[in-house]
C-alpha cells in the first residue's frame, strides 16, 4: 500500500486581520488560525488517493505553539496520523528553514511514495517549500499539479503552467504541489470530527531532527509588514433613480478617458 505524506501550515485567517487606518499597522488580535486554504486541496487530494486505491496518509506541520490546535481539525479531514513540530522559532522561518525541517521530519517518519503540498501558503504564499523539499530529499518535484495519479510506484501528474499544460511522469517517489482547482476540499462530517480524537498525533522535537544552527537560520528576514492602503476616490452615486447614477458614472468615466 502506498504511503503518502501531506504537508500543511496553520495560518492566521487573513479575513480577520484589520489594517489600522492611522499607521497602516496590522491588528491580528481578533484573527483565528485555520489550515491554509491551499493546503486543504493537498489534504483532499491525499485523501482522494487513499479512498481511491488504498494508501496510508500521514500529515506533517511545522509552526509555533499554536499548531497544536490544528491537529484535530487536520485529522478530521481524513489523514491517518499527524506529526507536528511546534517551536517558537517557526515564526521567523522562511521557505529555506521550513523545507529543511519538513525534509528532516519526513526522513524520520518516511519513506513516502508521494509527498503532497499546496501551491503556497495562504499567509506568505512563497510557493517554494514543495520544490525545496524535493531538492532536500533528492526527489523530483512536480509543481502546480491540476490532476494526479499514482500508478504503482509511478506518479503521473498534469501540471498547469499559465499558458499550457503538460504531463510529468516520475518513477516513484516524488514531491508535488497542487493548484486549488485540482479538487474541492470537503467539509468533514461530524463523525469524522469525533473520530479525529482517536487518531494519533505525534510531536517531533526540532532538536531531534539533527539540523545545524545554520539550517535553522532564515535566509530572508522580515523587516516590516504594513497594511496595504488603497487610495481610491470612493465616490458613490446615490441618486434615487439608477438612470441618473449611470449618467453620472458614464460622465465620470469619459472624463477619466476610459470609455
Amino acid at each position: 500500500m502506498s504511503k503518502i505524506l501531506v504537508c500543511y501550515k496553520w495560518v492566521l485567517d487573513e479575513q480577520d486581520i484589520r489594517v489600522n487606518a492611522a499607521d497602516a499597522s496590522l491588528d491580528s488580535s481578533r484573527a483565528k488560525y485555520k489550515i491554509s486554504d491551499y493546503d486543504k486541496n493537498a489534504i483532499e487530494e491525499a485523501v482522494l488517493l487513499q479512498e481511491g486505491q488504498g494508501a496510508t496518509v500521514d500529515a506533517v506541520t511545522f509552526g509555533g505553539d499554536a499548531v497544536k490546535q490544528s491537529l484535530k481539525d487536520l485529522l478530521s479531514r481524513g489523514p491517518d496520523k499527524v506529526f507536528y513540530i511546534a517551536d517558537p522559532s517557526a515564526d521567523k522561518a522562511d521557505g529555506y528553514v521550513t523545507a529543511g525541517v519538513i525534509a528532516a521530519a519526513a526522513r524520520k517518519t518516511g519513506p513516502y511514495d508521494l509527498i503532497i503540498c499546496g501551491e503556497g501558503s495562504a499567509d506568505s504564499y512563497n510557493q517554494q517549500v514543495a520544490p525545496r523539499l524535493a531538492a532536500n530529499l533528492g526527489l523530483p518535484s512536480i509543481t502546480y499539479v491540476q490532476s494526479l495519479k499514482l500508478e504503482g510506484g509511478r506518479v503521473v501528474a498534469t501540471r498547469k503552467l499559465g499558458d499550457c499544460t503538460e504531463v510529468v511522469t516520475v518513477e516513484g517517489p516524488a514531491v508535488v504541489s497542487v493548484v486549488p482547482e485540482i479538487n474541492k476540499p470537503r467539509i468533514p462530517s461530524l463523525k469524522q470530527v469525533l473520530a479525529a480524537a482517536k487518531k494519533p498525533a505525534e510531536e517531533i522535537k526540532i532538536a531531534d531532527l539533527g539540523l545545524s544552527p545554520k539550517q535553522l537560520t532564515a535566509k530572508t528576514v522580515s523587516l516590516t509588514v504594513k497594511g496595504f492602503v488603497m487610495n481610491r476616490k470612493n465616490i458613490l452615486f446615490k441618486e434615487p433613480a439608477q438612470a441618473d447614477n449611470v449618467a453620472k458614472l458614464v460622465a465620470a468615466l469619459a472624463k477619466e478617458g476610459v470609455c
Partner: protein, 308 residues
C-alpha cells in the same frame, strides 16, 4: 566579479528582468549576466544590455535548467539571481536557491541592495499587507510578469557564450505539452475589464456582462468563485492574488463583494468601478466610483448609456 544573473524561459519576461537587472547594476556596479534558451533570445538580451549571455543548449524542459543555472551562478559568483515569476520560473527559482543554499524571495515588487543585503517588498496575507524583507547574498528572486517594463534593444555588445546543459533527471519524463486555449485575449493584459461575481444569479445572465463588455471594448473577468466553484468561466479569467493580476485602465465589477484576495488582483487598475447591491461590500472601499444597486438593473443602463 559577483554580479547579477537573470533568467526566464519566456524572453519577453527576460527583457523585463534586464530592466530590473540594469537598475541593480547601477547600484551594485557589477556585471549583468543572462541565461537564454535560444540564439535569437540570447541576441535580444545582449542587445538590450546584458553584459554576458549564456546560451544553454540541449535542455527541452525549462525546469531541467535549474541545475545548470545554479552551477553557472556559483561559478560566476552571482549575488542576485532574478527569475521570471511564471509557474515554471518559480519552480526553477526554488531549485536554483536550493542548489546555491540561498534564500528565495517570491514575486518581489521592488528590489534594491541595502547594507549588503537584498531588500525586497512583496505582498502578504492575500494582498492585505506589504512585507519588506532582507535576504543575505546570494539571493534568488522571482519577479512577476509586467512588474518592470521591457528593456529596449540598444547597441549592447554583450558576449554570447554557448553552454551544454547536463542531461535531465532520468526519473522524470515530460509529455503531452498542450497549450491552454484562451477564449478571448489574455485578461492580465486587457485594457479594460468587466468582472462578474456571485451577484450573478445564473450562468445565462453572463450575457448582461458580455453586452456591457462589448460596449466598453472590455474583456470579461470573474472572481474565483465563479470560475472554480461554479465553472461559469474558465479559470484563466479569474482575478485575484492566486489568479490574474490586471493592470487595465478600467475595471468595472458587477456583483463582486471584494474579498482581499480579489482586490489584490485589481489594485493596479487605473480606474475601479463597482456595482453591487450591498452598500457594505468591501469592493466599494476599493473603488473610485460605485453604484449601489442591482446589477440586473444597472448593467443594461450602463450599456445603453455607452451606446449613445
Amino acid at each position: 566579479m559577483p554580479g547579477i544573473l537573470i533568467f526566464s524561459e519566456n524572453n519577453a519576461i527576460a527583457l523585463e528582468l534586464v530592466t530590473a537587472g540594469l537598475g541593480l547594476k547601477a547600484t551594485m556596479n557589477h556585471s549583468l549576466c543572462a541565461v537564454a534558451l535560444s540564439e535569437p533570445d540570447a541576441a535580444a538580451l545582449a542587445a538590450a544590455g546584458a553584459d554576458k549571455v549564456f546560451l544553454l543548449n540541449g535542455q527541452d524542459w525549462p525546469e531541467g535548467c535549474a541545475q545548470p543555472i545554479a552551477e553557472l551562478a556559483a561559478r560566476e559568483l552571482a549575488a542576485v539571481i532574478l527569475i521570471g515569476g511564471t509557474a515554471r520560473g518559480k519552480d526553477i527559482a526554488a531549485k536554483v536557491a536550493c542548489g546555491l543554499d540561498a534564500g528565495l524571495v517570491t514575486e518581489a515588487q521592488t528590489i534594491e541592495i541595502a547594507e549588503d543585503k537584498l531588500q525586497t517588498t512583496r505582498l502578504k496575507y492575500g494582498g492585505l499587507a506589504v512585507a519588506c524583507e532582507a535576504t543575505g547574498l546570494p539571493a534568488v528572486v522571482t519577479i512577476a510578469p509586467r512588474t518592470f517594463d521591457k528593456a529596449v534593444a540598444g547597441d549592447g555588445q554583450g558576449q554570447v557564450i554557448a553552454l551544454d546543459a547536463a542531461a535531465g533527471d532520468p526519473r522524470v519524463k515530460v509529455s503531452d505539452l498542450c497549450p491552454i486555449e484562451r477564449h478571448g485575449v489574455d485578461i492580465a493584459s486587457a485594457a479594460r475589464v468587466v468582472c462578474v461575481g456571485r451577484g450573478l444569479a445564473k450562468q445565462e445572465d453572463l450575457a448582461l456582462a458580455e453586452d456591457l463588455a462589448k460596449a466598453l471594448s472590455a474583456e470579461i473577468g470573474c472572481t474565483r468563485g465563479i470560475a472554480e466553484d461554479y465553472h461559469w468561466l474558465p479559470v484563466e479569467r479569474y482575478i485575484g492574488i492566486s489568479g490574474q493580476n490586471i493592470k487595465s485602465e478600467l475595471y468595472l465589477s458587477l456583483g463582486v463583494s471584494g474579498q482581499v484576495q480579489h482586490v489584490a488582483g485589481i489594485r493596479d487598475a487605473k480606474v475601479i468601478v463597482a456595482v453591487d447591491t450591498n452598500e457594505k461590500a468591501p469592493i466599494f472601499a476599493a473603488a473610485d466610483y460605485g453604484i449601489v444597486g442591482d446589477l440586473y438593473e444597472v448593467a443594461p443602463l450602463i450599456t445603453a448609456a455607452l451606446k449613445k
